[in-house]
């Protein structure tokens, strides 16, 4: 009924949901890019998917900038302004990690050795599952839905699983006969992949705190 008086608020709401949709596109695209790279390293399709990921990441930055400008225009109440910006900036670190992984694969001409492909795929899939659960958790927070804690616990489990895979992968890399220089590069790549679920877990805990803070 009062939406007419809250045009800017409605715009912020639209932008936040479009940010989340865009975030889903980024990690969806990232998954395709990694799979493509594993099947056929450094092919044209990988290049295209990497460019797409970068395009979506840039769009995410544009959305955050627009939200930021609206926030400076005093949209929403101060507590919500602060919480939403803190949340978006925390989520925005994840696309950054995804892009770093793709850049490492492309610019360092990294080829994932056959012996670690299954675990690497597991690491990517579980990391992206944590991103998927995170976007659900954020939507639940915005809509004041139920099940926030369950989603937080789920993401926490994914993160522990990823940590476990990450350690195993690094061990496997250093136990293999690969060139030592490549080993270091692969180690860096694996750590970067592990950062995805670590950041998702941090954001998930932040979402939980914001939800508790909003309870009166």
């Amino acid at each position: 009924m009062f939406r007419f008086f809250f045009k800017k608020e409605s715009r912020v709401e639209e932008l936040i949901y479009s940010y989340i949709e865009n975030f889903q596109l980024i990690y969806g695209n990232f998954e395709k890019a990694v799979l493509c790279c594993i099947q056929q390293p450094l092919c044209e399709e990988f290049d295209f998917l990497k460019r797409q990921t970068h395009k979506y990441e840039a769009k995410a930055d544009d959305i955050i900038d627009e939200i930021n400008n609206l926030m400076y225009g005093k949209v929403l109440i101060p507590d919500s302004r602060e919480d939403i910006m803190k949340l978006l900036l925390a989520i925005d670190k994840i696309p950054g990690h995804l892009e770093i992984v793709l850049s490492m694969l492309k610019y360092q001409h990294l080829v994932i050795p056959k012996e670690i492909i299954p675990e690497t795929l597991d690491l990517v899939k579980i990391s992206l599952s944590s991103c998927e659960a995170l976007s659900k958790q954020v939507i639940t927070l915005l809509k004041k839905g139920k099940g926030l804690r369950e989603l937080m616990n789920k993401i926490d489990r994914y993160e522990s699983h990823c940590d476990h895979i990450e350690t195993e992968l690094i061990q496997q890399v250093f136990n293999s006969e690969i060139d030592p220089f490549i080993k270091l590069q692969l180690k860096e790549l694996i750590i970067c992949m592990g950062d995805i679920s670590d950041q998702a877990d941090r954001v998930s805990k932040l979402v939980n705190i914001l939800s508790l803070k909003r309870r009166v």
């Binding site: 409605s10 709401e13 005093k74 109440i77 101060p78 507590d79 927070l141 004041k144 009166v216």
Partner: protein
């Protein structure tokens, strides 16, 4: 018109200072633009004064009997004591200043309505206590539903903003109805103004104070209350309106600052934190005691001064 200047000054200063209690939180946190708040507050103060200001005016004019010079002295003494105490940085309530000044005139006339005065004193004491109790009751009952209604973060935001505007306007109405007596009741007692004229002039002078000088006060005082979370701040705002409205029905002008401090104290009790420092509480008690005393003494001194005549060398 000149004889009303003391009262008009009193109304102006009341509007400039007390508007911050109503819309301070919302304006300081940029939830509402200053001019939206100022216009709403002015409009509702005038409406409150005209529609419900009669009871307070009758209570104050009934505390003693005045002639016009005494009414002028009472209003000037009250206005002066508010100004002096504000300049000295002491907490001040215009309601207490006016009653103190009327009491001074009553002492000189040897005529004080003791039962009326007793009613006023009880109301002064119960204002912050009432503010705290109402805030606690409101918070507990509204929070119960607020936590359970399935509305999005954005809808909750809109609801809070609408709440601030709606209940801010209601508090402004209650403030106008309650405090207009401080501005012009003495002139009704002296037969200079009718109740309607007193309510109109009083309401307009409070509104003038809000429109011309409330911005800096709103922004500084409001920031002190912003430290409360938005929901708590809204509960304090609703409680302020209800508390003042109750005293308006009883017919006793009370201090909106003391009502709001009671409300903030109530939030502190709910959350188990110190929302009001001991220093602020001491200042309230100091204000309770000093304001009427200073106004009473000033009224007596000015009255004696008015009898002095120049006799020449």
């Amino acid at each position: 018109m000149l004889s009303l200047l003391g009262g008009i000054f009193m109304g102006w200063s009341l509007g400039a200072n007390d508007a911050s209690n109503i819309f301070g939180t919302a304006v300081a946190s940029r939830m509402i633009k200053f001019w939206t708040a100022a216009i709403l507050a002015s409009l509702f103060v005038i409406l409150g004064a005209l529609i419900s200001g009669q009871a307070g005016i009758e209570t104050l004019q009934g505390l003693t009997s005045f002639d016009l010079p005494q009414a002028i002295i009472a209003s000037v003494a009250a206005a002066l004591s508010v100004s002096i105490m504000t300049l000295m940085g002491w907490p001040v309530s215009s309601s207490q200043a006016v009653v103190g000044a009327i009491l001074g005139i009553g002492i000189l006339n040897s005529q004080i309505n003791v039962s009326g005065l007793g009613k006023v004193l009880i109301c002064w004491f119960t204002t912050p206590v009432g503010g705290a109790i109402i805030t606690i009751l409101l918070y507990r009952s509204i929070a119960f539903y607020y936590n359970r209604i399935p509305i999005s973060l954005f809808s909750a935001d809109r609801l809070l903003k609408i709440g601030f505007i709606f209940f801010g306007s209601y508090s402004a109405y209650a403030l106008g109805a309650n405090n207009v007596a401080n501005v012009t009741a003495v002139f009704v007692g002296a037969g200079k103004l009718s109740v309607f004229q007193a309510a109109l002039i009083g309401g307009l002078s409070i509104a003038f104070g809000i429109l011309t000088f409330s911005r800096p006060v709103m922004e500084t005082v409001g920031k002190k209350l912003v430290e409360l979370d938005p929901f708590s701040a809204l509960m304090v705002s609703i409680s302020l309106g209800i508390t003042i409205h109750i005293y308006t029905i009883i017919g006793v002008p009370v201090s909106s600052s003391q009502a709001i401090i009671g409300g903030v104290l109530g939030i502190g009790i709910i959350k188990g934190t110190n929302t009001v420092s001991m220093k602020t509480l001491k200042n309230i008690f100091l204000g309770w005691f000093l304001t009427p005393v200073v106004a009473c003494v000033l009224a007596i001194i000015i009255s004696f001064g008015s009898y002095l005549e120049y006799t020449g060398p």
